[in-house]
């Protein structure tokens, strides 16, 4: 039986407790976020986190690992990721050396006997290279497994995850099935560049992190940027909410609004005005056409 250490963890005894714990490590969760994390820990389910870039998906996993003081194991996905990089690999080099060493030393011993011994020898723990997924399974303590940007993985490779996510076990043909001792808390993040398979989605709780509501964004700004006065913060939040309501190629996300706020403070700007916005807008918007649209719609300093 697999132990679920998360269920009894003192910091997962209620939605409010989770929310407060997240706050202590500097992550301000929305209600939905805290609820989903709480449920994931209670039901031993992975969380699939989706949302636009820069809204704090990866940060969430880090924050949870942070306040629970668990090890964070990260698997960054990319096109061409395969079993040997995600799960485990045999250390061929070491195996090769081992065989050579044997051959040199035990030349006179009967070949047959030697080979069966070697066969057993070179497929054991000593020659197994652990990759993130196996590492998370074999971890003695409760750990947080972050599978970042699952949508970059090819559809075929996605199947790799299925056994781990539902049964928390890995099958290594030479060693048999390795079952987790303590359940890892799994976060999968996705930018939604492609649809994940139904099988994968079905196994997870789903959490969509959108751009934050103005109130939450205000909270985040004030918490993360020391020395920000509330009047400016309100203006910033209102302005950014306005930008997001426009039809932009890339709406500003939290990380960008934080950058912008810090920049404004560095420049000693106390209130937003038509004159100060256009010069700094490129910190917030990453396309020229977006910057133009932002200036046109939200300030009155256009040339017309």
């Amino acid at each position: 039986m697999i132990r679920n250490d998360w269920r009894d963890h003192e910091k997962f005894q209620g939605i409010e407790v989770v929310a407060d714990s997240l706050r202590t490590v500097g992550y301000l969760p929305s209600r939905q976020i805290a609820t989903t994390v709480y449920l994931a820990a209670r039901l031993a389910k992975p969380i699939l986190v989706e949302g636009p870039a820069g809204t704090g998906k990866t940060e969430l996993a880090k924050a949870v690992a942070g306040f629970a003081q668990a090890e964070l194991i990260r698997l960054q996905c990319y096109e061409g990721l395969d079993e040997s990089k995600a799960l485990y690999e045999w250390n061929y080099r070491k195996q090769l050396l081992r065989i050579q060493a044997d051959r040199a030393g035990v030349e006179e011993v009967e070949q047959k006997e030697g080979w069966s011994k070697v066969g057993q020898d070179i497929f054991n723990e000593e020659f197994l290279l652990e990759r993130p997924l196996l590492h998370a399974i074999r971890s003695q303590e409760a750990s947080v497994l972050l599978v970042d940007e699952v949508d970059r993985m090819e559809v075929e490779t996605e199947a790799l995850l299925l056994e781990i996510l539902s049964d928390f076990q890995v099958s290594v043909p030479e060693l048999g099935t390795i079952v987790a001792e303590s359940l890892p808390l799994v976060f999968l993040t996705s930018n939604g560049t492609r649809d994940l398979s139904e099988a994968l989605k079905r196994r997870c709780l789903f959490l969509y992190i959108d751009y934050p509501m103005p109130e939450r964004e205000l909270e985040i700004l004030v918490a993360k940027v020391p020395g920000l006065n509330s009047q400016l913060a309100k203006q910033i939040v209102g302005f950014i909410a306005g930008l997001r309501s426009l039809d932009l190629k890339k709406s500003p996300s939290i990380s960008e609004s934080l950058d912008w706020t810090r920049a404004l403070l560095e420049m000693g700007i106390v209130t937003l005005e038509d004159s100060s916005v256009p010069d700094t807008l490129h910190l917030l918007l990453k396309y020229r056409s977006d910057v133009e649209a932002g200036i046109k719609e939200l300030t009155s300093s256009d040339r017309s």
Binding site: R93, L96, T193, L205, L207, E273, S300
Partner: protein, 455 residues
């Protein structure tokens, strides 16, 4: 509670959200972990277990309101003034608008819901037992509240704090947001009243919640089209990715001798690992040819959305528009900031009308071939969007054969239901002969099917 949950899952499925058995089991397990009398908590929890697609969240929320409204039944007081308050209490109406404004500004949810309840009972004029979706009641209530005046009130109040031009612009946006939240609140209130009256299952049926991907493009309202735009973008990306992917999976890549030699060194010179060259990123060349005539107006708006989304993602998308003359419109899409501007440019600048502005597929295909055939290569995919209603001009389908011969794929997307094909002046079958496939694309779901099946 469990029964309610199962009914809820059934309603979700009816609206197109796939909610599998195991997800339902998860949801029921969740009930044991939370305080399900807290509605927000319940909503957040169920949402994480039952919805796996961000586009479905809105539909989920609406149905959730229908099934799990924990409405107290003490609305006896408000029943008195349902009628009678129509003419006599004009003064009273004004007060209500003021009160609503105040509640919105203070973000006082309790007060807001109380005033909204009053407004609905006074203005909505809900008739019990009628099988309607309630949209009309919500509309009637909102009209009586006088949203324009409310907007002014809100703006004026927000402006009180500080008055620079810049702030004023922001306040306008704030006020709009508040109004939207009021609208949502009113709809919710009306729905709750209906549920009280007829039960959740019946109301869910009349609500007929449609997911964005199921909206029929040809019949979609402007608002719906705008909503669909968000969905089109990922689809466009997917379409282009598909066109590229096919290529990659056929070709595993050449052996990189240098790297293979290097890797063999760690095995004593035996080439154990074969290193291949990374595949060259394939750039799909897409030619989109869209009918922009009046008969497919909202469909062409949709194809334009698709074009716009694709051209912002990929450089090698060329788009063409036609009615009875074809013209390249790629540059309009690249320079335009948003879809509306692009549409305007196409309508005003592109030369798509030759004679009378009635679609002439034959002529347009011919002139497309004449002018652009040298640009077609074995890597180009040609996608034609239109209903193939040719106004009895000659079809000239043989041109399509040439196009097919010069390109990798040739697809036709038809916005008409399959049953109407070849009726009247539709000549789709004569074109279909030369296409790799003709697809009925009436909604985003169809488009998605086209993407996954065809390519």
């Amino acid at each position: 509670m469990l029964e309610l949950l199962v009914g809820f899952a059934t309603a979700l499925r009816a609206s197109g959200i796939s909610c599998s058995q195991s997800e339902l089991i998860d949801a029921s397990q969740i009930l044991g972990e939370i305080d399900f009398l807290d509605r927000d908590e319940l909503r957040d929890s169920l949402r994480s277990a039952m919805v796996k697609d961000p586009l479905h969240i809105e539909a989920f929320d609406r149905l959730f309101d229908v099934f799990f409204s924990l409405r107290s039944f003490d609305s006896a007081g408000s029943d008195d003034d349902t009628e009678g308050g129509k003419e006599g209490d004009y003064q009273n109406d004004v007060d209500l608008t003021d009160l609503l404004a105040k509640a919105l500004l203070q973000n006082d949810r309790e007060k807001l819901s109380r005033y909204v309840r009053q407004a609905v009972s006074r203005f909505g004029g809900i008739e019990k037992g009628r099988a309607v979706s309630g949209l009309y009641y919500a509309y009637r209530t909102l009209r009586q509240i006088d949203l324009d005046r409310l907007l002014l009130l809100l703006e004026a109040d927000l402006d009180l704090e500080s008055g620079s031009d810049f702030d004023r612009k922001l306040h306008k946006l704030d006020a709009k947001r508040l109004i939207d939240s009021l609208k949502a609140q009113v709809t919710k209130e009306v729905t709750e009243l209906l549920v009280e009256d007829r039960g959740p299952v019946a109301v869910a049926k009349t609500l007929a919640v449609t997911l964005p991907e199921d909206i029929e493009i040809v019949r979609a309202s402007r608002e719906e089209l705008a909503r669909m735009q968000r969905t089109v973008e990922p689809l466009a990306r997917k379409l282009a990715a598909r066109l590229a992917q096919k290529h990659r999976s056929q070709n595993r890549g050449q052996v990189d001798m240098r790297k293979t030699m290097r890797a063999s060194l760690s095995y004593g010179g035996t080439p154990v690992e074969l290193v291949t060259k990374p595949p060259r990123p394939h750039k799909p060349e897409i030619f989109l040819i869209a009918d922009v005539s009046g008969s497919v107006a909202s469909f062409s708006r949709f194809t334009m959305q698709l074009v716009f989304a694709m051209s912002s993602q990929f450089s090698k998308v060329r788009s063409f528009a036609f009615i009875d003359e074809v013209d390249e419109v790629t540059s309009y899409f690249n320079s335009a900031k948003d879809i509306n501007e692009a549409m305007r440019l196409v309508n005003t600048k592109a030369k798509v009308v030759w004679l009378d502005g009635h679609s002439d597929y034959g002529r347009c295909l011919e002139s497309f071939w004449e002018r652009y055939h040298s640009d077609l290569t074995r890597r180009s995919s040609v996608i034609i969007c239109g209903d193939a209603r040719n106004n009895y001009h000659s079809a000239k389908a043989e041109v399509l054969k040439l196009v097919k011969g010069a390109s990798k794929h040739l697809f036709w997307l038809n916005p008409e239901p399959h049953a109407y094909w070849n009726s009247g002046d539709s000549v789709i079958s004569s074109y279909a002969e030369y296409c790799d496939g003709v697809y009925e694309v009436r909604s985003l779901r169809h488009l998605e099917r086209f993407i996954t099946e065809a390519i």
